[in-house]
Symmetry: C2
Protein backbone atom coordinates (compact mmCIF):
# COMPACT_ATOMS: atom_id res chain seq x y z
CA UNK A 1 0.00 0.00 0.00
CA UNK A 2 2.88 2.33 0.68
CA UNK A 3 5.07 0.79 -1.98
CA UNK A 4 3.37 2.41 -4.90
CA UNK A 5 4.28 6.01 -4.35
CA UNK A 6 5.86 6.11 -7.76
CA UNK A 7 2.61 5.60 -9.59
CA UNK A 8 1.54 8.96 -10.83
CA UNK A 9 -2.13 8.23 -10.87
CA UNK A 10 -2.08 7.74 -7.09
CA UNK A 11 -0.33 11.00 -6.46
CA UNK A 12 -2.73 12.88 -8.67
CA UNK A 13 -5.66 11.23 -6.97
CA UNK A 14 -4.47 12.26 -3.55
CA UNK A 15 -3.82 15.79 -4.71
CA UNK A 16 -7.36 16.15 -5.97
CA UNK A 17 -8.84 14.63 -2.83
CA UNK A 18 -6.82 17.03 -0.74
CA UNK A 19 -8.07 19.96 -2.75
CA UNK A 20 -11.64 18.83 -2.44
CA UNK A 21 -11.35 18.41 1.30
CA UNK A 22 -9.55 21.70 1.91
CA UNK A 23 -11.98 23.59 -0.28
CA UNK A 24 -9.73 24.51 -3.20
CA UNK A 25 -12.18 22.66 -5.39
CA UNK A 26 -15.68 23.48 -4.29
CA UNK A 27 -18.73 21.33 -4.87
CA UNK A 28 -19.92 21.75 -8.42
CA UNK A 29 -16.54 22.93 -9.67
CA UNK A 30 -15.36 21.30 -12.83
CA UNK A 31 -12.15 19.33 -12.70
CA UNK A 32 -10.70 19.78 -16.17
CA UNK A 33 -8.24 17.20 -17.35
CA UNK A 34 -6.05 19.39 -19.53
CA UNK A 35 -5.90 21.99 -16.80
CA UNK A 36 -4.31 19.48 -14.44
CA UNK A 37 -2.14 18.21 -17.27
CA UNK A 38 -0.67 21.67 -17.75
CA UNK A 39 -0.37 22.39 -14.07
CA UNK A 40 1.33 19.14 -13.14
CA UNK A 41 3.30 18.58 -16.30
CA UNK A 42 2.01 15.06 -16.80
CA UNK A 43 0.08 13.35 -19.53
CA UNK A 44 -3.65 13.07 -19.78
CA UNK A 45 -3.81 9.33 -19.12
CA UNK A 46 -2.93 9.29 -15.42
CA UNK A 47 -5.20 12.26 -14.79
CA UNK A 48 -8.09 10.46 -16.42
CA UNK A 49 -7.43 7.35 -14.40
CA UNK A 50 -7.28 9.33 -11.19
CA UNK A 51 -10.62 10.91 -12.01
CA UNK A 52 -12.06 7.50 -12.76
CA UNK A 53 -11.03 6.30 -9.33
CA UNK A 54 -12.46 9.41 -7.75
CA UNK A 55 -15.74 8.77 -9.46
CA UNK A 56 -15.84 5.28 -8.02
CA UNK A 57 -15.06 6.81 -4.64
CA UNK A 58 -17.93 9.22 -5.21
CA UNK A 59 -15.77 12.29 -4.84
CA UNK A 60 -16.73 13.45 -8.31
CA UNK A 61 -19.50 12.87 -10.79
CA UNK A 62 -18.78 12.48 -14.46
CA UNK A 63 -20.53 11.72 -17.70
CA UNK A 64 -19.03 10.79 -21.05
CA UNK A 65 -17.69 13.79 -22.95
CA UNK A 66 -18.83 16.13 -20.20
CA UNK A 67 -16.04 15.82 -17.73
CA UNK A 68 -15.94 15.61 -13.97
CA UNK A 69 -17.43 17.84 -11.32
CA UNK A 70 -16.84 17.84 -7.61
CA UNK A 71 -19.76 16.09 -6.08
CA UNK A 72 -21.90 18.29 -3.94
CA UNK A 73 -22.49 16.92 -0.50
CA UNK A 74 -26.14 17.64 -0.49
CA UNK A 75 -28.22 17.74 2.63
CA UNK A 76 -30.17 14.88 1.13
CA UNK A 77 -27.16 12.66 0.69
CA UNK A 78 -25.98 13.57 4.16
CA UNK A 79 -29.22 12.49 5.73
CA UNK A 80 -29.32 9.39 3.56
CA UNK A 81 -25.91 8.37 4.79
CA UNK A 82 -26.83 8.21 8.44
CA UNK A 83 -29.21 5.26 8.45
CA UNK A 84 -26.89 3.20 6.28
CA UNK A 85 -23.93 4.01 8.43
CA UNK A 86 -25.92 3.32 11.58
CA UNK A 87 -26.77 -0.21 10.48
CA UNK A 88 -23.28 -1.00 9.23
CA UNK A 89 -21.67 0.21 12.42
CA UNK A 90 -24.18 -1.65 14.52
CA UNK A 91 -23.13 -4.81 12.74
CA UNK A 92 -19.49 -3.85 13.12
CA UNK A 93 -19.94 -3.40 16.84
CA UNK A 94 -21.56 -6.79 17.20
CA UNK A 95 -18.87 -8.55 15.21
CA UNK A 96 -15.98 -6.67 16.76
CA UNK A 97 -16.90 -7.24 20.38
CA UNK A 98 -15.69 -10.83 20.59
CA UNK A 99 -12.42 -9.71 19.03
CA UNK A 100 -11.55 -6.87 21.36
CA UNK A 101 -8.20 -7.08 23.03
CA UNK A 102 -6.13 -4.72 25.14
CA UNK A 103 -4.36 -3.32 22.14
CA UNK A 104 -7.58 -2.25 20.49
CA UNK A 105 -8.91 -0.74 23.69
CA UNK A 106 -5.71 1.23 24.09
CA UNK A 107 -5.91 2.47 20.52
CA UNK A 108 -9.52 3.51 20.93
CA UNK A 109 -8.73 5.26 24.16
CA UNK A 110 -5.87 7.10 22.47
CA UNK A 111 -8.21 8.32 19.74
CA UNK A 112 -10.72 9.44 22.33
CA UNK A 113 -8.06 11.40 24.18
CA UNK A 114 -6.94 12.93 20.89
CA UNK A 115 -10.52 13.96 20.20
CA UNK A 116 -10.70 15.66 23.58
CA UNK A 117 -7.46 17.48 22.95
CA UNK A 118 -8.69 18.60 19.57
CA UNK A 119 -11.95 19.73 21.10
CA UNK A 120 -10.11 21.78 23.70
CA UNK A 121 -8.03 23.41 20.95
CA UNK A 122 -11.11 24.17 18.86
CA UNK A 123 -9.49 21.99 16.17
CA UNK A 124 -12.38 20.80 14.04
CA UNK A 125 -10.13 19.04 11.56
CA UNK A 126 -8.25 17.18 14.26
CA UNK A 127 -11.47 16.06 15.89
CA UNK A 128 -12.72 14.85 12.53
CA UNK A 129 -9.61 12.77 11.89
CA UNK A 130 -9.66 11.02 15.24
CA UNK A 131 -13.41 10.60 15.21
CA UNK A 132 -13.23 8.85 11.85
CA UNK A 133 -10.30 6.74 12.99
CA UNK A 134 -12.13 5.68 16.16
CA UNK A 135 -14.98 4.28 14.12
CA UNK A 136 -12.66 2.81 11.52
CA UNK A 137 -10.78 0.88 14.20
CA UNK A 138 -13.97 -0.80 15.27
CA UNK A 139 -15.06 -1.60 11.74
CA UNK A 140 -11.64 -3.07 11.06
CA UNK A 141 -11.79 -5.10 14.24
CA UNK A 142 -14.98 -6.72 13.00
CA UNK A 143 -12.77 -8.68 10.64
CA UNK A 144 -15.19 -8.56 7.73
CA UNK A 145 -13.60 -7.09 4.64
CA UNK A 146 -16.89 -6.73 2.80
CA UNK A 147 -18.23 -4.69 5.68
CA UNK A 148 -15.08 -2.59 5.72
CA UNK A 149 -15.39 -1.88 2.00
CA UNK A 150 -19.03 -0.95 2.22
CA UNK A 151 -18.35 1.30 5.19
CA UNK A 152 -15.35 2.95 3.54
CA UNK A 153 -17.50 3.77 0.55
CA UNK A 154 -19.60 6.04 2.71
CA UNK A 155 -16.76 8.56 2.91
CA UNK A 156 -17.21 9.12 6.60
CA UNK A 157 -14.61 11.88 6.75
CA UNK A 158 -16.48 14.07 4.33
CA UNK A 159 -19.78 13.71 6.05
CA UNK A 160 -18.39 14.00 9.52
CA UNK A 161 -16.86 17.29 8.52
CA UNK A 162 -20.11 18.55 7.13
CA UNK A 163 -21.91 17.35 10.20
CA UNK A 164 -19.55 19.24 12.43
CA UNK A 165 -19.96 22.40 10.44
CA UNK A 166 -23.71 22.25 10.11
CA UNK A 167 -24.37 21.44 13.70
CA UNK A 168 -22.95 23.98 16.06
CA UNK A 169 -22.16 21.24 18.47
CA UNK A 170 -19.84 21.55 21.37
CA UNK A 171 -16.75 19.72 20.19
CA UNK A 172 -16.11 18.30 23.62
CA UNK A 173 -19.59 16.81 23.63
CA UNK A 174 -18.88 15.15 20.29
CA UNK A 175 -15.70 13.64 21.69
CA UNK A 176 -17.40 12.39 24.84
CA UNK A 177 -20.24 10.86 22.87
CA UNK A 178 -17.79 8.06 22.09
CA UNK A 179 -17.39 7.08 25.70
CA UNK A 180 -20.47 4.84 25.93
CA UNK A 181 -19.19 2.84 23.00
CA UNK A 182 -15.83 2.29 24.62
CA UNK A 183 -17.51 1.32 27.89
CA UNK A 184 -19.75 -1.17 26.15
CA UNK A 185 -16.75 -2.70 24.42
CA UNK A 186 -15.04 -3.12 27.76
CA UNK A 187 -18.11 -4.94 29.05
CA UNK A 188 -17.98 -7.28 26.08
CA UNK A 189 -21.67 -7.45 25.29
CA UNK A 190 -22.01 -7.55 21.47
CA UNK A 191 -25.63 -6.47 21.33
CA UNK A 192 -25.01 -3.59 23.68
CA UNK A 193 -22.05 -2.40 21.63
CA UNK A 194 -24.12 -2.63 18.48
CA UNK A 195 -26.94 -0.65 20.03
CA UNK A 196 -24.61 2.02 21.35
CA UNK A 197 -22.97 2.46 17.97
CA UNK A 198 -26.24 2.66 16.16
CA UNK A 199 -27.62 5.12 18.70
CA UNK A 200 -24.43 7.15 18.43
CA UNK A 201 -24.85 7.62 14.69
CA UNK A 202 -28.57 8.18 14.81
CA UNK A 203 -28.22 10.87 17.45
CA UNK A 204 -25.99 12.80 15.10
CA UNK A 205 -28.45 12.27 12.30
CA UNK A 206 -31.12 13.88 14.47
CA UNK A 207 -28.90 16.80 15.37
CA UNK A 208 -27.84 17.55 11.84
CA UNK A 209 -31.01 16.92 9.91
CA UNK A 210 -33.40 17.83 12.65
CA UNK A 211 -33.04 21.58 12.39
CA UNK A 212 -33.93 21.54 8.72
CA UNK A 213 -37.47 20.39 9.14
Amino acid sequence: MTLERTVMREQIKELIIQRILDGTYKPGDRVVELQLVNELGVSQAPVREALRDLKAMRFVDSEPYRGARVRAVTAEELSETYPVRARLEQLAGELATPCVDDKLLRQLDAELQAMRTAARDRDQHGLLIHDARFHELIVEAAGNSVLLDAWSGLRIEVFTLVSLIKSNLDLAAVANAHLPILDALRQGDPDLVGKEMRAHIESFADLVTGDQR
Copy 2:
Protein backbone atom coordinates in the same frame (compact mmCIF):
# COMPACT_ATOMS: atom_id res chain seq x y z
CA MET B 1 -28.03 5.39 -19.32
CA THR B 2 -28.75 3.82 -22.67
CA LEU B 3 -27.46 6.77 -24.62
CA GLU B 4 -23.80 6.07 -24.12
CA ARG B 5 -23.47 2.89 -26.09
CA THR B 6 -20.85 4.55 -28.22
CA VAL B 7 -18.34 4.85 -25.41
CA MET B 8 -15.89 2.06 -25.93
CA ARG B 9 -14.88 1.72 -22.35
CA GLU B 10 -18.43 0.77 -21.39
CA GLN B 11 -18.67 -1.87 -24.07
CA ILE B 12 -15.35 -3.37 -23.07
CA LYS B 13 -16.38 -3.35 -19.45
CA GLU B 14 -19.56 -5.22 -20.17
CA LEU B 15 -17.75 -7.72 -22.33
CA ILE B 16 -15.35 -8.54 -19.52
CA ILE B 17 -18.11 -8.78 -16.95
CA GLN B 18 -20.00 -11.12 -19.20
CA ARG B 19 -16.95 -13.31 -19.62
CA ILE B 20 -16.37 -13.41 -15.90
CA LEU B 21 -19.96 -14.35 -15.21
CA ASP B 22 -20.19 -17.00 -17.92
CA GLY B 23 -16.89 -18.54 -16.91
CA THR B 24 -14.75 -17.64 -19.91
CA TYR B 25 -12.48 -15.87 -17.47
CA LYS B 26 -12.11 -17.96 -14.39
CA PRO B 27 -11.17 -16.70 -10.94
CA GLY B 28 -7.46 -16.07 -10.79
CA ASP B 29 -7.12 -15.71 -14.55
CA ARG B 30 -5.11 -12.77 -15.70
CA VAL B 31 -6.82 -10.18 -17.82
CA VAL B 32 -4.05 -8.89 -20.03
CA GLU B 33 -4.52 -5.47 -21.55
CA LEU B 34 -2.69 -6.00 -24.83
CA GLN B 35 -4.46 -9.27 -25.35
CA LEU B 36 -7.82 -7.50 -25.33
CA VAL B 37 -6.32 -4.71 -27.43
CA ASN B 38 -5.43 -7.19 -30.15
CA GLU B 39 -8.64 -9.12 -29.90
CA LEU B 40 -10.95 -6.11 -30.00
CA GLY B 41 -8.89 -3.90 -32.25
CA VAL B 42 -8.99 -0.95 -29.89
CA SER B 43 -6.36 1.03 -28.10
CA GLN B 44 -4.99 0.36 -24.67
CA ALA B 45 -6.56 3.38 -23.00
CA PRO B 46 -10.20 2.29 -22.99
CA VAL B 47 -9.19 -1.21 -21.91
CA ARG B 48 -7.29 0.20 -18.98
CA GLU B 49 -10.20 2.37 -17.99
CA ALA B 50 -12.59 -0.54 -18.16
CA LEU B 51 -10.31 -2.54 -15.91
CA ARG B 52 -10.11 0.36 -13.51
CA ASP B 53 -13.88 0.42 -13.26
CA LEU B 54 -13.97 -3.32 -12.77
CA LYS B 55 -11.49 -3.03 -9.95
CA ALA B 56 -13.74 -0.49 -8.25
CA MET B 57 -16.61 -2.91 -8.78
CA ARG B 58 -14.48 -5.62 -7.21
CA PHE B 59 -14.66 -7.86 -10.23
CA VAL B 60 -10.90 -7.87 -10.54
CA ASP B 61 -7.90 -7.21 -8.36
CA SER B 62 -4.94 -5.30 -9.66
CA GLU B 63 -1.63 -3.92 -8.53
CA PRO B 64 0.63 -1.44 -10.29
CA TYR B 65 2.72 -3.03 -13.03
CA ARG B 66 1.27 -6.43 -12.27
CA GLY B 67 -1.97 -6.29 -14.10
CA ALA B 68 -5.46 -7.47 -13.28
CA ARG B 69 -6.75 -10.84 -12.21
CA VAL B 70 -10.28 -12.05 -11.93
CA ARG B 71 -11.18 -11.87 -8.33
CA ALA B 72 -11.80 -15.20 -6.75
CA VAL B 73 -15.09 -15.39 -4.99
CA THR B 74 -13.74 -17.01 -1.91
CA ALA B 75 -15.90 -18.85 0.53
CA GLU B 76 -14.75 -16.35 3.10
CA GLU B 77 -15.91 -13.35 1.11
CA LEU B 78 -19.15 -15.10 0.37
CA SER B 79 -19.87 -15.66 4.02
CA GLU B 80 -18.77 -12.14 4.85
CA THR B 81 -21.23 -10.73 2.38
CA TYR B 82 -24.30 -12.21 3.96
CA PRO B 83 -24.41 -10.30 7.24
CA VAL B 84 -23.75 -7.00 5.48
CA ARG B 85 -26.39 -7.67 2.90
CA ALA B 86 -28.82 -8.81 5.56
CA ARG B 87 -28.58 -5.53 7.44
CA LEU B 88 -28.74 -3.38 4.35
CA GLU B 89 -31.79 -5.17 3.04
CA GLN B 90 -33.44 -5.04 6.43
CA LEU B 91 -33.04 -1.28 6.32
CA ALA B 92 -34.24 -1.23 2.72
CA GLY B 93 -37.36 -3.15 3.68
CA GLU B 94 -38.15 -0.75 6.49
CA LEU B 95 -37.66 2.32 4.32
CA ALA B 96 -39.43 0.91 1.30
CA THR B 97 -42.60 -0.21 3.02
CA PRO B 98 -44.18 3.24 3.33
CA CYS B 99 -43.45 3.81 -0.36
CA VAL B 100 -45.10 0.65 -1.64
CA ASP B 101 -47.63 1.13 -4.39
CA ASP B 102 -49.52 -1.12 -6.74
CA LYS B 103 -46.96 -0.74 -9.46
CA LEU B 104 -44.16 -1.99 -7.26
CA LEU B 105 -46.23 -4.90 -6.01
CA ARG B 106 -47.02 -5.87 -9.58
CA GLN B 107 -43.37 -5.69 -10.56
CA LEU B 108 -42.32 -7.80 -7.60
CA ASP B 109 -45.00 -10.33 -8.35
CA ALA B 110 -43.83 -10.50 -11.95
CA GLU B 111 -40.28 -11.22 -10.82
CA LEU B 112 -41.53 -13.88 -8.47
CA GLN B 113 -43.47 -15.55 -11.26
CA ALA B 114 -40.40 -15.34 -13.49
CA MET B 115 -38.38 -17.02 -10.75
CA ARG B 116 -40.89 -19.84 -10.58
CA THR B 117 -40.82 -20.31 -14.33
CA ALA B 118 -37.03 -20.38 -14.30
CA ALA B 119 -37.11 -22.89 -11.46
CA ARG B 120 -39.44 -25.14 -13.40
CA ASP B 121 -37.11 -24.95 -16.42
CA ARG B 122 -34.04 -25.70 -14.31
CA ASP B 123 -32.74 -22.33 -15.48
CA GLN B 124 -30.25 -21.29 -12.83
CA HIS B 125 -29.23 -18.17 -14.67
CA GLY B 126 -32.78 -17.00 -15.15
CA LEU B 127 -33.58 -17.54 -11.51
CA LEU B 128 -30.50 -15.57 -10.57
CA ILE B 129 -31.48 -12.60 -12.72
CA HIS B 130 -34.99 -12.34 -11.39
CA ASP B 131 -33.91 -13.03 -7.82
CA ALA B 132 -31.44 -10.17 -7.97
CA ARG B 133 -33.98 -7.90 -9.62
CA PHE B 134 -36.58 -8.67 -6.96
CA HIS B 135 -34.23 -7.49 -4.24
CA GLU B 136 -33.04 -4.57 -6.28
CA LEU B 137 -36.58 -3.33 -6.75
CA ILE B 138 -37.05 -3.14 -3.01
CA VAL B 139 -33.73 -1.43 -2.40
CA GLU B 140 -34.60 1.10 -5.10
CA ALA B 141 -38.01 1.65 -3.58
CA ALA B 142 -36.35 2.62 -0.32
CA GLY B 143 -35.45 5.87 -2.05
CA ASN B 144 -32.03 6.16 -0.44
CA SER B 145 -29.30 6.48 -3.05
CA VAL B 146 -26.51 5.91 -0.55
CA LEU B 147 -28.13 2.66 0.46
CA LEU B 148 -28.55 1.69 -3.18
CA ASP B 149 -24.89 2.35 -3.89
CA ALA B 150 -23.69 0.41 -0.87
CA TRP B 151 -25.95 -2.49 -1.77
CA SER B 152 -24.92 -2.48 -5.43
CA GLY B 153 -21.29 -2.69 -4.34
CA LEU B 154 -21.96 -6.11 -2.88
CA ARG B 155 -22.29 -7.63 -6.36
CA ILE B 156 -25.35 -9.59 -5.44
CA GLU B 157 -25.53 -11.36 -8.81
CA VAL B 158 -22.13 -12.91 -8.41
CA PHE B 159 -22.76 -14.17 -4.95
CA THR B 160 -26.26 -15.32 -5.64
CA LEU B 161 -24.89 -17.42 -8.47
CA VAL B 162 -22.25 -18.93 -6.28
CA SER B 163 -24.82 -19.54 -3.59
CA LEU B 164 -27.03 -21.36 -6.01
CA ILE B 165 -24.21 -23.51 -7.22
CA LYS B 166 -22.77 -24.33 -3.83
CA SER B 167 -26.04 -25.15 -2.22
CA ASN B 168 -27.91 -27.85 -4.01
CA LEU B 169 -31.11 -26.11 -3.25
CA ASP B 170 -34.37 -26.81 -4.92
CA LEU B 171 -34.79 -23.88 -7.27
CA ALA B 172 -38.51 -23.73 -6.65
CA ALA B 173 -37.87 -23.42 -2.93
CA VAL B 174 -35.54 -20.51 -3.59
CA ALA B 175 -38.22 -18.79 -5.63
CA ASN B 176 -40.90 -19.35 -3.02
CA ALA B 177 -38.67 -18.07 -0.25
CA HIS B 178 -39.51 -14.61 -1.57
CA LEU B 179 -43.20 -14.98 -0.88
CA PRO B 180 -43.08 -13.98 2.82
CA ILE B 181 -41.39 -10.73 1.83
CA LEU B 182 -44.07 -9.92 -0.68
CA ASP B 183 -46.79 -10.76 1.84
CA ALA B 184 -45.21 -8.55 4.46
CA LEU B 185 -45.01 -5.70 1.98
CA ARG B 186 -48.70 -6.08 1.24
CA GLN B 187 -49.44 -5.85 4.95
CA GLY B 188 -47.44 -2.62 5.12
CA ASP B 189 -45.63 -3.23 8.39
CA PRO B 190 -42.09 -1.80 8.00
CA ASP B 191 -40.53 -3.74 10.85
CA LEU B 192 -42.04 -6.98 9.65
CA VAL B 193 -40.76 -6.41 6.13
CA GLY B 194 -37.33 -5.63 7.49
CA LYS B 195 -37.29 -8.76 9.59
CA GLU B 196 -38.44 -10.93 6.74
CA MET B 197 -35.77 -9.60 4.43
CA ARG B 198 -33.05 -10.03 6.99
CA ALA B 199 -34.22 -13.53 7.80
CA HIS B 200 -34.39 -14.34 4.09
CA ILE B 201 -30.75 -13.46 3.58
CA GLU B 202 -29.54 -15.06 6.76
CA SER B 203 -31.27 -18.32 5.93
CA PHE B 204 -29.28 -18.51 2.73
CA ALA B 205 -26.14 -17.71 4.64
CA ASP B 206 -26.82 -20.70 6.88
CA LEU B 207 -27.48 -22.97 3.95
CA VAL B 208 -24.39 -22.03 2.03
CA THR B 209 -21.83 -21.63 4.76
CA GLY B 210 -23.33 -24.15 7.14
CA ASP B 211 -22.12 -27.24 5.34
CA GLN B 212 -18.54 -26.10 5.42
CA ARG B 213 -18.09 -26.31 9.15
